[in-house]
């Protein structure tokens, strides 16, 4: 099948068309709660894209990206509903979104500087401490943040007289922003910048000798990662029209990491699957209350189900769902090509391990 339309293979166009129909169909066919959930998926996708840059590509493990989400979320809530600016008054929520990204990026950049001295488990622990600190800090400065009581916002309504429900509008807005942010991340990762991050991840020694400044690229990864997290946090608050310190508990940071790993580290499509999973798995887990497997009752306990999925993934698909799908596609292609009498791909197992990471190879030690 080599037919092309306007330079694109037909297959690609058909897939893009199906994706578009599904995308527009979701808010028109699901109920308002489900539409709202799908809007949250978009926010998580953005946050996980950011974490992917930091942890998946630049190799710096962060358990603290929830803190950057908190900064973004509170930037939006405080500007839009708590602290009117002189002359301007409350900032319309739409304008707070890029501001949320920038404020979080600044914090991320600053956090990145001391993080330069830390690697691996120590960096994980330091960012873990950051995630732990969020809720208490927000509660402590309650004069500024509103403390336990949180901040209520007016719910976002569709602009320009669009004939959409609030949830449908949130859905389209969040996904539009996710799409707008996905493309630059993708382009950046394919460029010199992305290669520098991956180089640092794979060998700092060789990266430095190739002219890559560790300090610059590591802090840049922190800053950009936090920018994405900040925007995600902002959208999260806009969706809920409310924020309080408990929205940004440690669990949120862990959820991001789980979503990233399940979706597939350092994979361009991983964040989409990860985002879908972290929003919908808990929902279905609650729904399945009462479900029993022999003597074991699984239902209604999202944490258990999360745990089970995570363990299955780590054991059977160490490269996440995208790695699993990639393996499936290669298997299908090799079958098909073998059927046609073409030479099979060389050692698909090796390819799989190599492209997706997986275990350290013995060759390079």
């Amino acid at each position: 099948m080599n037919a092309r339309v306007a330079g694109f293979p037909i297959y690609t166009l058909v897939m893009a068309g199906v994706a578009l129909i599904v995308f527009i169909g979701i808010p028109l066919t699901t109920n308002s709660f489900q539409t709202f959930q799908f809007a949250n998926v978009a926010a998580f996708v953005i946050a996980i894209v950011g974490l992917n840059i930091l942890t998946g590509y630049s190799g710096q493990i962060s358990l603290g990206n929830g803190a950057f989400m908190a900064v973004g979320g509170y930037t939006t809530a405080l500007l839009a509903a708590k602290w009117p600016l002189p002359f301007i008054g409350f900032v319309p929520y739409g304008y707070t979104i890029p501001l949320a990204g920038l404020v979080a990026a600044l914090l991320g950049f600053l956090i990145g500087i001391p993080a330069l001295r830390l690697r691996g488990i120590y960096l994980a622990l330091a960012t873990f401490a950051l995630a732990l600190a969020v809720t208490p800090v927000l509660n402590n400065y309650d004069g500024f943040t509103g403390g336990h009581a949180g901040v209520f916002m007016k719910s976002a309504t569709p602009p320009f007289g669009l004939d959409l429900s609030n949830d449908q509008w949130l859905y389209f807005m969040c996904w539009a922003i996710a799409a707008i942010l996905y493309v630059p991340a993708f382009l950046m990762l394919r460029s010199r910048t992305g290669r520098a991050w991956m180089a640092i991840r794979d060998s700092e020694t060789a990266a430095v000798s190739s002219g890559i400044s560790l300090a610059y690229y590591k802090t840049l990864a922190f800053g950009i990662s936090a920018f994405y997290a900040g925007i995600a946090g902002s959208l999260f608050v806009i969706n809920n029209a409310y924020v309080d310190p408990d929205s940004y508990s440690l669990a949120l940071s862990l959820t991001l990491l789980i979503g990233l790993v399940i979706g597939g580290l350092a994979n361009v499509w991983g964040p989409i699957l990860g985002g879908l999973l972290v929003v919908w798995l808990p929902y279905f887990a609650e729904k399945s209350a009462g479900f029993r497997l022999g003597p074991i009752s699984l239902g209604g306990k999202p944490d258990i189900e999360f745990g089970i999925v995570l363990i299955l993934i780590v054991f059977f698909a160490p490269n996440g769902l995208t790695g699993l799908i990639g393996r499936g596609i290669r298997w299908y292609r090799s079958k098909r090509d073998a059927g046609r009498g073409a030479a099979p791909l060389p050692a698909p197992a090796v390819l799989e391990e190599a492209t997706q990471g997986g275990e350290p190879s013995e060759i390079i030690g």
């Binding site: 493309v183 950046m188 290669r195 060789a206 000798s209 002219g211 391990e353 492209t355």
Partner: protein, 266 residues
């Protein structure tokens, strides 16, 4: 009249690790276009010298001049911009990246010098697309030169050892260096591969107009490719001269026999 300066000038260089003196007052010059073989028994300080030149180790005393200017004032990641690239004794490849991407990382500083490259890159601006395309073409040419262009899109992990050595060489060439440091390029290669490597080194030296510093235990290779040989033993330079002169030097022979005996006794 200005006297011609050596491209690389190592002056009275001393590197210590605690009690170990890895390099002990080593001096030598390398003229432009020369291939210098650096030999010596295990632990003589050869890799340490490379690490000092590339600023991974800080010497306790002495200086290293490149083009008449000290390298000790440059940061590690600026060494490549001065025109010095290297390979590693124990491969240091980016194993989760493709062969082509590994070489492109070697070209990092040539693609752009801008701190803000990530912004036009994120927007996919034409200037970035052009820079990336040109870099890719150049990288493919280099892969062609070292004979592995057909593997460009293969991930590095899983490739045979000899190929990995070629990838490192290509990455080293990618920055258009003037001085290339090769740490045991023949290490781990079989007979045939070593024979090919001799031809390859001579070929790239000419084609890329390189000055080469080669650390190698494979004497046959060193004698075939070097114009000049420096011999280290326990951190001291014990001989320097043409391959033939060095081969006949009594102290060199003693140094190698000495370690052979130690190895035998151990």
């Amino acid at each position: 009249m200005i006297a011609p300066v050596a491209l690389l000038s190592v002056r009275d260089l001393t590197v210590r690790f605690g009690g170990i003196v890895a390099l002990d007052g080593v001096s030598f010059d390398v003229e432009k276009g020369v291939t210098l073989g650096l030999i010596g028994p295990n632990g003589a300080g050869k890799t340490t010298l490379f690490n000092a030149i590339t600023r991974i180790y800080r010497p306790q005393s002495g200086d290293i001049l490149f083009d008449g200017e000290s390298l000790l004032r440059s940061q590690r990641h600026d060494i490549i911009r001065r025109g010095i690239a290297r390979t590693f004794q124990n491969l240091e490849l980016f194993r989760r990246m493709t062969v082509l991407d590994n070489v492109l990382v070697g070209r990092h500083t040539e693609i752009s010098r801008s701190r803000w490259y990530f912004l036009p890159a994120a927007l996919g601006l034409p200037s970035v697309r052009r820079a990336e395309r040109m870099a890719r073409e150049r990288a493919l040419e280099i892969l062609e030169d070292v004979g592995i262009a057909d593997l460009a899109h293969r991930p590095v992990a899983g490739l045979p050892f000899g190929t990995l050595k070629a990838v490192e060489l290509a990455r080293g060439l990618a920055s258009d260096p003037r001085l290339l440091l090769l740490d045991e390029p023949a290490g781990g290669l079989n007979h045939e591969e070593v024979a090919d490597l001799v031809g390859l080194i001579k070929h790239i030296q000419k084609r890329y107009d390189l000055t080469l510093l080669i650390v190698e235990h494979h004497m046959n290779l060193v004698m075939k490719v070097s114009d000049q040989v420096v011999v280290l033993d326990f951190g001291k330079k014990i001989a320097e001269g043409s391959p033939r002169e060095v081969q006949e030097d009594k102290r060199v022979i003693a140094a190698y026999l000495g370690t052979a005996e130690e190895d035998g006794a151990a």
